[in-house]
């Protein structure tokens, strides 16, 4: 009996010891003085600014969120591909055209890979681009207004995933298809995929002054899946690299059937050569149907135009422009180091990390050391282009970024870690866990010639227990690391909105000074603006009633409107007369089958309302604009459809 007691006590002691061990493991081994030291590194005192902006893709939110580093505070959500009731984007008459496509109005997308514009391979902070994955689109967002200015649909594409990456002078934003499809689309058996489907890689030119996008050409590649891509830079400027998987060209149960080949390819594309071919009239204009949506800052309105043809190029037409680099095991990320020499193929099912050499690739091409071809595209020999391998660095490599000091950082999804390794020697220098199952990682400027290697953050796919529980559905987690030392140091863990895939980050000083505070009323060219009380009016055009309305602290003008009838379609054109920083006014009217308007100083926005019942109906300002915000309201009298009441409007009578 005594022995049993002794054993029990011993067991309990051991269990307690184990439990406390687990607890200390959970806190990442940082406590006391060490933890407070880390806290100082991410503490941004009230009123102080973060040193970097981070633009995170929203994934299935379809948007971009703007964060500060190192604090991890979210500043803004920029609506891009999704309707945004918070400010009326995609609901107001002015912004609805932004979401037009050849499929009609598409109010949602899956946004993946933001990329900031560059000049000479360095971030210039003029625009940020992002891809819509589901209904292939590319958006351009201004980094002065932080608003979406342009969306172009990508025809012949499906699953716009190896996008939107830009060349080093923002000559092109590049969009590759993940799913190959019949080009042009047609009714055919799915099993006839192999040899018949095509993968379109689109080179969208960017006007250097306005940023306006136009599809310059599409390369119709073999029917592989084009997963990710990155531009060459420095010595490899003029080339673009795409990872592929499913070179088996399977059309069903891809998790097995697309994992059979020992090696898939990185497609190396000499876009300068194809550009030259196209500039000399090469390629074929093919009938197409895709939307080009452009927002005009002066009129505060978007317009949508359908484009009817696109230039396509068959690889066989431009010999010597495209080569295939064998890369082990369904590579995912395709990352190019700051010098442009190394192309990292993150073979997600491979035990090793494969790095190709641009110099060796050129050499092999020159010596014509080919190992057969795929649909006429020469395949180079693996050994001839291989710069080196990082041996057994982790499980499930996905993406690599660079710090500009000759080091690379690769995420490993399966082993949930970021591994730091050295370019050239391929030795592993450090590894740190992530929480959990990391996807992309970002170093500010990490995808340019000039990375700013102070911070790195990892964006994870699994959150589980990192924050207070909020039910089965939760936000994703991100971890921020200090990478300025030899070893990475975990600084901060913060939730992110939607499902960030990639992110782009930039030192704050490059863009903060350009940020707009207001829109100038004097430059407002909206056709239904009202610039003063004298301009306000109500106009009937058949069943359509246009209300030209102004807002200024703290009233609408007019605020009493009569003569509207059941069956009318009422357009509230609201101009915000304020010219003061951060004084928006909102507008909402009872029973509107749409979202509110949030109108920035100097801007005009239009809400459509179809009154269905006779009565006197209020509208009000939804933004707590001033001390007398609660007084900022008005009424619309709605009369029966057969009423003879004339339109009238007033303020303060």
């Amino acid at each position: 009996m005594k022995n049993i007691l002794k054993t029990t006590v011993a067991l309990v002691t051991i269990l307690v010891a184990f439990t406390s061990c687990n607890n200390s493991g959970k806190s990442n081994g940082q406590s006391g003085a060490l933890a407070s030291n880390v806290a100082e590194k991410v503490y941004v005192a009230p009123g102080e600014y973060d040193s970097h902006y981070a633009f995170m893709s929203g994934g299935y939110s379809g948007n971009i969120t703007v964060y500060g580093l190192p604090s991890g505070r979210m500043f803004k959500e920029i609506p891009v591909f999704s309707q945004f009731p918070t400010n009326g984007y995609g609901y107001s008459e002015e912004t609805k055209p932004m979401l037009e496509t050849s499929y009609g109005f598409v109010p949602w997308d899956d946004s993946h890979h933001p990329d900031i514009s560059q000049t000479n391979g360095e971030l210039d902070g003029r625009w940020i681009f992002i891809n819509g994955n589901n209904t292939p689109r590319i958006a351009r967002i201004s980094l002065t207004t932080f608003e979406t200015e342009e969306i172009i649909e990508v025809p012949n594409s499906a699953g716009n995933h190896s996008s939107s990456f830009i060349t080093e002078n923002t000559e092109y934003v590049v969009a590759g298809t993940r799913f190959s499809v019949p080009v042009p689309q047609k009714d055919m058996p799915i099993k006839d995929y192999k040899g018949n489907f095509k993968g379109a890689l689109s080179f969208i030119s960017v006007d250097p002054e306005h940023g306006h996008m136009d599809i310059k050409f599409q390369i119709l590649m073999p029917g592989f899946n084009y997963d990710l891509s990155h531009p060459g830079r420095g010595k490899s400027h003029g080339w673009f690299f795409f990872t592929t998987y499913n070179t088996e060209e399977a059309n069903s149960l891809l998790e097995v059937n697309a994992s059979q080949n020992d090696k898939d390819f990185i497609a190396a594309i000499n876009w300068k050569k194809i550009e030259e071919y196209v500039n000399n009239g090469g390629g074929t204009m093919m009938p197409a149907n895709y939307a080009h949506n452009l927002y005009d800052e002066a009129t505060h309105m978007a317009t949508s135009t359908m484009k009817k043809e696109v230039r396509v190029v068959n690889p066989a037409e431009v010999p010597g422009a495209i080569y295939l680099l064998p890369t082990p095991k369904s590579p995912h990320g395709c990352d190019v180091d700051p010098t442009g020499e190394y192309i990292v193929g993150n073979g997600k099912l491979s035990a090793n990390l494969t790095v190709h050499s641009f110099t060796k690739m050129l050499d092999a091409i020159e010596k014509k050391k080919f190992d057969g071809d795929a649909y006429g595209i020469p395949i180079l020999k693996f050994e001839d282009v291989l710069a080196g391998s990082v041996e057994q660095p982790g499980l499930g490599p996905l993406h690599t970024e660079f710090d500009g000091e000759g080091n690379a950082y690769t995420t490993f999804f399966i082993s949930s870690e970021v591994v730091k390794w050295k370019l050239g020697t391929w030795e592993v220098l450090d590894r740190k866990p992530t929480y959990y199952s990391v996807g992309h990682l970002t170093i500010p400027g990490g995808n340019s010639r000039k990375p700013f290697g102070k911070y790195m953050f990892a964006m994870n796919k699994i959150t589980k227990d990192r924050y207070l529980p909020v039910g089965p559905e939760m936000e994703h987690s991100a971890q921020l690391y200090d990478i300025s030392g030899d070893k990475m140091e975990l600084l901060l863990d913060f939730p992110t909105h939607g499902e960030p895939h990639y992110a782009a980050a930039i030192p704050a000083e490059i863009i903060m000074k350009n940020s707009r505070k207001i829109y100038r009323l004097a430059e407002n060219e909206h056709p239904r603006k009202a610039l003063s009380d004298a301009d306000t009016k109500v106009v009937r055009e058949g069943k359509n009633v246009h209300i030209y309305m102004t807002t200024i602290r703290s009233h609408f003008s007019p605020d009493n409107i009569e003569g509207v009838k059941v069956g009318d379609k009422v357009f509230f054109h609201v101009t915000n007369l304020e010219q003061d920083f951060d004084v928006p006014h909102g507008f909402a009217v009872i029973g509107a089958n749409t979202a509110e308007l949030l109108v920035m100083p100097g801007q005009t926005r239009t809400l459509t309302w179809e009154p269905k019942q006779v009565g006197v109906w209020p509208f009000y300002c939804t933004d707590f604009c001033s001390a007398l915000h609660q007084e900022m309201q008005g009424y619309v009298r709605v009369s029966p459809a057969d009423s003879n009441l004339e339109l009238s409007w007033s303020l303060g009578d």
Partner: protein, 206 residues
């Protein structure tokens, strides 16, 4: 007396800075205005420090029933002040030149200074009267009416010079570059007077 004449000329010419730079500046900061709103008072009119400051000051002031900030044509001062400053500057230069050639006594320098001071005090008095009217002649139907503890309506008169708290606003009222140039110029005319006097005394004692 030559040096004194030159200094008199320089001092008088410094007045012309008022045609380029503000005489006075009033800044209005508040918790929600970390970048304060401001008005620059020129002898030809009032301008915002930033493009929309006047509009925004008027916008805020309408809550407490203040009149809008006057346009140049709404106040006679903005047409008279430039003439007075130009006249005084020319007069000072003329006196300086005459002094340089020993045609007038150094006492004219002091005379100019006294006249300019009198005009300046009159100008300040007038300016202060306007501030009083601007700050206390309020619309009886104002949205917000604030009274002092004794029941009288609160005045929103900005200080003539210095700092004052008005409701949520921190108001700073100080001379600006034009004003400082004028003060330096006037001081120089005093220096001219003193130098002229010294030279004159030297001559007499010799």
């Amino acid at each position: 007396m030559k040096t004194a004449g030159i200094i008199m000329i320089i001092g008088s010419l410094l007045l012309l800075g008022l045609f380029k730079y503000p005489l006075w500046n009033i800044m209005l900061g508040a918790p929600q205005y970390p970048d304060p709103l401001g008005m620059d008072i020129y002898i030809t009119g009032i301008q915002g420090v930033d493009e929309f400051d006047l509009q925004n000051i008027d916008g805020l002031n309408h809550y407490i029933g203040m009149k809008t900030i006057p346009k140049p044509e709404e106040m006679w001062e903005f047409s008279v002040f430039p003439k007075v400053i130009l006249g005084m500057s020319i007069l000072g230069v003329v006196i300086g030149i005459l002094g340089f050639f020993n045609k007038v006594s150094y006492k004219f320098f002091l005379g100019w200074f006294i006249l300019m001071t009198a005009l300046g005090v009159a100008g300040m008095y007038d300016f202060n009267n306007w501030l009083i009217d601007y700050g206390s002649n309020l619309d009886p139907n104002a949205i917000i009416k604030v009274t002092n503890p004794d029941g009288t309506p609160m005045s929103y008169k900005p200080p003539l010079i210095g700092y004052q708290k008005l409701l949520n606003f921190d108001v700073d009222s100080w001379p600006h570059i034009g004003g400082y140039l004028m003060f330096v110029g006037m001081s120089l005319t005093l220096v001219a007077f003193w130098l002229g006097r010294r030279a004159s005394l030297k001559r007499t004692t010799q």
